[in-house]
């Protein structure tokens, strides 16, 4: 009888403490899971919506019909300092607002990620020189995808890291063309930048679980970031200039934050 009661009590304990049990003893070796990165573009405290006018500093306004940027070299750091890097040939993505669901959310799913408790995420904005210099080697289909998506100049010039297309209004300049196609320029300018974002709560990647990291991107920071730029002063057309492209690249380093993490 005692044994039965003990077993019943033990079962109850397990039932009630499963959620808070200490995972330090959990053996995750060899286990893998998926992690989903949810990108949500906004403008300050507003949702980003195509063809909606947003006001930047100095009262210039803009509205966009295309909003895309490249993300690559995603790495995750766990609570023990181990770094998981997604396989290089798959580790480049286009975040395209046009691909979003109705709520404006764009999902990138990383498969077969080492099970661990991750505390930060690192990724690059654009394409690094090493990847660029590989040419078509080891790029999978990305080269052709980028071309179809309008994210590639001629090969000598390289990738466009961003595609912000629309119009801007500044004083008497009404609805003039706005095209921010910043990228590295061959090997002459390196505009690749990396950001590391702390996760407000651990992303616990486990087999058969859905882990989601909600990343907010504040598009206003592209124009009003570390440096506030004026469309009317040469920033309405940003393509290959050694002067303007690094400013946009540096501004974009500060547009991302992890809002929250979902562990199912």
């Amino acid at each position: 009888m005692k044994l039965m009661k003990f077993a019943f009590a033990a079962a109850l304990c397990i039932l009630f403490t499963a959620c808070t049990s200490d995972d330090s003893t959990e053996n995750l070796d060899g286990l893998i899971g998926d992690i989903s990165l949810k990108f949500d573009n906004g403008v300050g405290d507003q949702d980003f919506i195509f063809e909606t006018t947003y006001t930047k500093s100095n009262n210039e306004t803009y509205k966009l019909s295309t909003l895309k940027y490249l993300i690559s070299n995603v790495r995750l750091t766990d609570d023990e300092g181990n770094i998981f890097e997604y396989p290089s040939d798959k580790n480049v993505f286009i975040v395209d607002e046009a691909d979003s669901n109705n709520a404006g959310e764009i999902y990138i799913t990383l498969e077969d990620v080492d099970a661990a408790n991750y505390t930060s995420i690192t990724f690059g904005i654009g394409i690094d020189q090493e990847r660029y210099l590989k040419g078509a080697d080891g790029q999978g289909d990305f080269l052709s995808i980028a071309q179809e998506e309008g994210m590639l100049w001629s090969w000598a010039t390289g990738y466009r890291f961003t595609r912000f297309d629309g119009v801007y209004t500044s004083g008497t300049e009404i609805e003039q063309g706005l095209n921010i196609h910043m990228g590295s320029v061959g090997t002459s300018i390196d505009n690749y930048r990396e950001v590391t974002l702390p996760l407000p709560t651990e992303a616990r990647v486990r087999p058969d679980k859905i882990t989601e990291v909600h990343i907010k991107a504040d598009i206003s920071k592209v124009f009003d970031g570390v440096t506030s730029i004026n469309f009317s002063d040469g920033y309405s057309q940003v393509h290959t200039s050694a002067e303007t492209t690094p400013v946009i690249a540096d501004n974009m380093m500060h547009m991302f934050m992890v809002h929250h993490v979902h562990n199912e």
């Binding site: 009888m1 039965m4 009661k5 019943f8 906004g42 300050g44 405290d45 507003q46 949702d47 919506i49 195509f50 063809e51 909606t52 006018t53 006001t55 509205k63 979003s100 669901n101 109705n102 709520a103 404006g104």
Partner: protein
């Protein structure tokens, strides 16, 4: 040993089923719907569905019941959380079954008994019929009334609860909807700082900033956000840029009348502090963003409300920095913490 195990089982089953033990005839007790002295008359016809203790309790249970949805896990309360005046906290567009995303931002549930029509586009003209829309929508709860009733009929507890509330007629669609209405009719938010101030209760005063906001509100906002419900219950196009992804034509969807293009119901502003994000598609995350929009974000989409036309031909409401600050201070006096924490409406 057997005795102990048996007693554990008895204890457990008592804990789970005590609600359905009393199977005898029950006479429901009428609950009074108290109309706040500063409120208009009820629009809901209580005579057709008097609120009772048993009906209210059943309505509340149904409001939190996942089986009203096709995957048995999305109750009404999923998109209507009490702490946020029964809105879907933090979501621009509300989510439904199977990860589906709706077209609009879930509006608050409060003071429903004073509303003439429901939903952002007025698709429901009677409170009793409103729940059919989310219940059957593929992007919300994805069910059918018949299937929900079939599920509930299999549950002895619901058999008892329906009989307690509605007698012999038991589980049917009418009683399901009436119970939900009884719960919602009681959800009256009327005890904000503003209410106590206008009713001269408890010596509640507004600060000079809040009073300045009230003054600005009366001169610049209250023609639409009228009266003590803070809505004239009309449908208006407020010049929001149309989201090309959603192409939501608003009330046009109801009658396909060109005059209704991009019109949405003027929302109440009660508990506005906690019901973010704002507008029918939740595009604004803060009240500052909303007021900035009214000041300089409107576009002429062809059917903007004439009341928003400025003398220079543009659309908008001029608001100074000071006016915005005081308006927000005033709007926060509409927060009713008693309602947001009222245990009568809470799941647990």
């Amino acid at each position: 040993m057997k005795l102990i195990r048996l007693s554990i089982l008895v204890g457990l089953s008592f804990g789970l089923t005590h609600c359905s033990d009393d199977v005898g005839p029950y006479t429901p007790i009428n609950l009074e719907v108290e109309i706040p002295s500063n409120f208009p008359d009820l629009t809901y016809t209580l005579e057709n569905n008097p609120v009772t203790d048993a009906g209210f309790d059943l309505g509340k249970k149904l409001f939190y019941e996942g089986r009203l949805s096709v995957n048995n896990s999305i109750p009404c309360a999923f998109c209507h959380e009490q702490a946020f005046a029964f809105t879907h906290h933090g979501h621009t567009l509300s989510h439904g079954v199977n990860g589906e995303i709706g077209l609009r931002n879930a509006p608050p549930i409060q003071n429903m008994a004073f509303q003439k029509e429901f939903m952002w586009d007025g698709a429901a003209t009677h409170l009793d019929l409103q729940p059919i829309i989310p219940l059957t929508s593929d992007v919300e709860m994805g069910e059918t009334l018949a299937n929900v009733l079939a599920k509930l009929k299999k549950d002895p507890e619901y058999k008892t609860l329906f009989r307690r509330a509605f007698g012999e007629s038991g589980i049917n669609a009418e009683n399901l909807l009436k119970a939900l209405s009884q719960f919602m009719v009681m959800m009256i938010s009327s005890n904000s700082t503003y209410d106590k101030y206008v009713r001269n209760e408890d010596n509640v005063q507004l600060s000079p900033l809040e009073l300045a906001g009230l003054y600005t509100f009366k001169s610049k906002c209250s023609s639409c956000h009228a009266g003590e419900l803070f809505t004239d219950q009309s449908y208006r196009n407020n010049g929001l840029p149309v989201n090309p992804k959603l192409m939501d034509k608003g009330r046009y969807a109801i009658f396909e009348d060109e005059n209704d293009l991009y019109k949405f119901k003027v929302p109440s502003l009660r508990n506005i502090e906690v019901t973010f994000p704002y507008m029918h598609d939740g595009r604004f995350q803060t009240l500052e963003a909303v007021l900035n929009f009214y000041d300089h974000g409107m576009t002429n989409n062809g059917n903007v409300d004439p009341s928003l036309l400025r003398p220079d031909g543009s659309y908008g409401i001029d608001l100074t920095t000071e006016e915005k600050e005081s308006l927000i201070a005033f709007l926060k006096t509409l927060t009713d913490t008693e309602f947001l924490n009222d245990e009568r409406f809470a799941e647990y």
